[in-house]
């Protein structure tokens, strides 16, 4: 960045240095920028590690390959869950929080030193838990249900990581306060920041729950506490384990809006509706932690129904709203740009060659169709009896966390590299295919695992054939086929994931510097928005006409209703129980 663009502001006793972003005109606090870079890099490192572990898991499940020994399989599976479900996601979310607060609000970041303390705690904690797992004495799975016991530093690492992330959330809230006080924006915060706020609120609940349960568990592992109640542990642990995935949902929905805004100039159809949808997340999304406790003895059906339904599915309503307003806002923007023919010219002529857009749209569609629908079915109290702890569960959450969150985070990286790292994406042609390779592979992983789960195949299970069991059960042969296809999909996704890591790292290290002359091209292909006379016709309430989006949501709704009732039909054929 040229030196003229650096601006110093002294505010009170604190001096902050800013540069002006050539694409957006936003003022970027250099301290925030450094924090975003550090967190994003840590995230990508853990994605690479956890992704390799994931591939090894899938190749072991594939009966014809059966790569790892059983001990190694369970160890690697523990590490896979930890590295991608927790470390990759939360490091990236810290970057998102700093971006959505300091950068989007053109504010200085609150207490950057504390943010660094948080970052360092997260790194130390993440490494400590990884070491504990790799040492081989903490093969307890990501969930570490007692009385299964890990080494004390397994829990201690998680606690340090959580404390670090909590500091990050505090910095986010502090930045909101500063931006408001110093009037860096007028009126309400932008929608993307509001989505990040939603993520941060859920994160506070998540991390607090984690601390409440992991601290006593740590004390139990070193011998200060004699007993941990298995059901209470599970209840509180899932307030962390499941809510952490709700941070993801809020963050990636926010990123959908962000990418739609930057790549096609989309504007929320209605601030009121989109924010109300986020409000439903804030109030009710965390209740869905009960999804993991639906076949547990000792909790009443009243508790199960109220919680698993996110209070009468109000949070699902939130997701369905986003599922319409994001494509709807894209359609409106594209129509404004002149792509008005038929129901779908706007979609056909969308910037599919831009990896940020392509990744975002794939994430949107697959999160809804694969992760979303299966999540609601899985989270229905009685239907869960047919699915609990089968491979359907990881199938479902690979649909949300991988095709939804991870793909969205990958997509936004193609904007973060030019905007924050100020480097051009190296090898744009490879970057073009990356979201498709990864997205389709991940969709395969998700769907084939769900298929195997429907056949009853257990999750976290090394041997489909149960060769050494005294009383083995033989799954139908099609289960092997499903797991083979899962392995092939995992190879495809891993290729896409590796491509992502290589492109990002190479771009940061060797990419061409970005300034005001090349920022336009650095952000990837955008639709030519030249048709001015369409501008006034679309996009406000009076002339709102989005036939393509109507078709999309109608197809979605039809698939949802059909799949939901098909599962009730299956349930009615099970052994009667009461």
């Amino acid at each position: 960045m040229s030196s003229v663009a650096i601006e110093s502001r002294t505010l009170g006793a604190i001096a902050a240095k800013f540069r002006t972003c050539p694409a957006t005109g936003l003022k970027v606090d250099l301290a925030a920028q450094a924090l975003i870079k550090a967190n994003a890099v840590a995230a990508v490192v853990f994605l690479a590690i956890g992704g390799i572990f994931g591939l090894m898991v899938a190749l072991t499940r594939w009966p014809a390959v059966h790569l790892l020994s059983s001990d190694m399989f369970y160890l690697v599976l523990t590490a896979h869950g930890l590295d991608v479900l927790l470390l990759w996601i939360i490091f990236f979310e810290m970057a998102v929080l700093y971006f959505a607060s300091a950068v989007i609000l053109s504010s200085r970041i609150a207490a950057p030193r504390w943010a660094w303390v948080g970052f360092i705690l997260m790194v130390i904690g993440g490494l400590m838990t990884n070491v504990a797992v790799l040492q081989g004495e903490s093969t307890v799975m990501f969930t570490s249900y007692p009385p299964l016991k890990a080494q004390p530093h397994f829990y201690l690492g998680l606690i340090l990581f959580a404390v670090g992330a909590l500091i990050g959330c505090c910095v986010f809230f502090g930045t909101l306060v500063i931006a408001k006080e110093e009037r860096t924006y007028e009126g309400s915060i932008p929608l993307v920041t509001f989505g990040a706020l939603t993520a941060a609120i859920i994160a506070v609940f998540t991390i607090a729950s984690g601390a409440i349960i992991l601290i006593p568990t740590f004390l139990w592992s070193v011998g200060y506490i004699s007993n941990i109640d298995t059901l209470t542990y599970k209840l509180v642990w899932w307030a962390m384990g499941h809510s952490s995935q709700q941070i993801n949902v809020s963050a990636h929905v926010s990123i959908w809006y962000l990418i739609a805004a930057v790549t096609v100039g989309a504007k929320p159809l209605s601030e009121k509706v989109s924010r109300t949808a986020f409000l439903m997340y804030i109030l009710f999304l965390q209740l869905a932690s009960a999804h993991h406790l639906l076949v547990e003895p000792g909790l009443s059906s009243e508790w199960k129904i109220v919680n698993t339904s996110y209070m009468m599915y109000l949070a699902v309503m939130g997701s369905m709203i986003h599922g319409m307003t994001v494509p709807g806002s894209i359609e409106a923007a594209q129509r404004k740009s002149g792509f008005t023919r038929g129901a779908f010219e706007w979609l056909r002529k969308a910037p599919w060659g831009n990896p940020a857009f392509a990744g975002m749209f794939l994430s949107l569609v697959m999160f809804g169709f694969i992760g979303g629908i299966s999540g609601v079915v899985l989270g229905t109290e009685q239907l869960n009896i047919m699915m609990h702890n089968t491979l359907y569960v990881p199938g479902h959450f690979h649909g949300t966390v991988v095709t939804g969150t991870t793909l969205a985070f990958m997509a936004v990286t193609y904007l973060v590299v030019p905007l924050i790292f100020q480097r051009e994406i190296i090898w744009p042609k490879l970057a073009r295919i990356q979201p498709y390779l990864f997205g389709i592979g991940a969709a395969g992983i998700s769907m084939f695992m769900m298929g195997a789960g429907t056949l009853g195949v257990a999750r976290r299970h090394w041997d489909l054939a149960m060769t050494d069991a005294a009383l083995p059960y033989g799954y139908p042969p099609i289960a092997s086929l499903m797991l083979g296809l899962n392995g092939l999909s995992a190879i495809m996704a891993a290729t896409g994931g590796a491509l992502y890591v290589v492109i990002v790292v190479a771009s940061i290290l060797f990419g061409k510097k970005v300034d005001e002359t090349n920022i336009g091209t650095a952000l990837g292909p955008m639709p030519q928005r030249v048709v001015r006379d369409a501008v006034t016709k679309y996009g406000n309430a009076g002339s709102w006409h989005l036939p393509g989006t109507y078709v999309l949501v109608t197809v979605f709704f039809g698939a949802f209703v059909l799949y939901y009732f098909v599962n009730w039909k299956y349930l009615s054929e099970l052994w009667p129980m009461q």
């Binding site: 309400s188 932008p190 298995t230 059901l231 159809l269 003895p297 009853g456 149960m466 709704f557």
Partner: protein
């Protein structure tokens, strides 16, 4: 633009387009349908998980299962000689989960109801009845009583689907369902 503050200061009062409102209404109503579907199934459906549960010392529970098995044992099977118990129709049946087995094997009659007691002697396990695909979590210290009515005869596998240590994948069990009056 989603990365800028809303254009008008008071955006809450801006009108919402009809199409968007219709979708919100559909989503809301669909949520209510799914919510009441669970309640409906509790009243009219036949597959609901039992709420009968009590705290029990794992050793006491193992004692109960052993007494049950002794009383109702009809034969032994497999290399390990695991006992097969055939409880009275309509009566109690016991099974204990422990690393790494489901014990004992049960023989039930089709169309008869049994109070199936499930608990663990050590860690958490997952009762996964295949191929019918009924999955219930099993905790040490909690005795869960599920009333089941097998509706098909045959040999059913019990797989453990909660990770319980390095031998998790060898943890199997079995339930035979025979036509009424047969077996034994």
């Amino acid at each position: 633009m989603a990365i800028h503050s809303p254009e008008s200061r008071i955006w809450w009062n801006e009108p919402v387009a009809r199409g968007e409102l219709v979708w919100v209404a559909i989503a809301f109503v669909w949520g209510l349908i799914m919510f009441f579907m669970m309640i409906y199934w509790h009243i009219y459906g036949k597959q609901n998980l039992s709420a009968v549960v009590g705290r029990v010392d794992p050793e006491v529970y193992v004692g109960k299962v052993e007494a049950f098995t002794e009383k109702y044992k009809v034969r032994e099977e497999g290399e390990t000689g695991i006992p097969v118990a055939k409880p009275e129709a309509g009566g109690d049946a016991y099974m204990v989960a422990r690393t790494f087995e489901w014990w004992p094997v049960l023989e039930l009659e089709k169309g008869k109801s049994y109070k199936l007691h499930l608990s663990s002697a050590d860690l958490q396990h997952g009762f996964s009845l295949q191929p019918t695909n009924i999955n219930i979590q099993v905790h040490p210290g909690l005795e869960h009583v599920v009333t089941v009515t097998p509706n098909e005869s045959g040999t059913f596998g019990v797989v453990c689907n909660e990770y319980c240590g390095l031998g998790h994948h060898v943890m199997g069990g079995r339930i035979y369902v025979v036509e009424p009056g047969q077996g034994g």
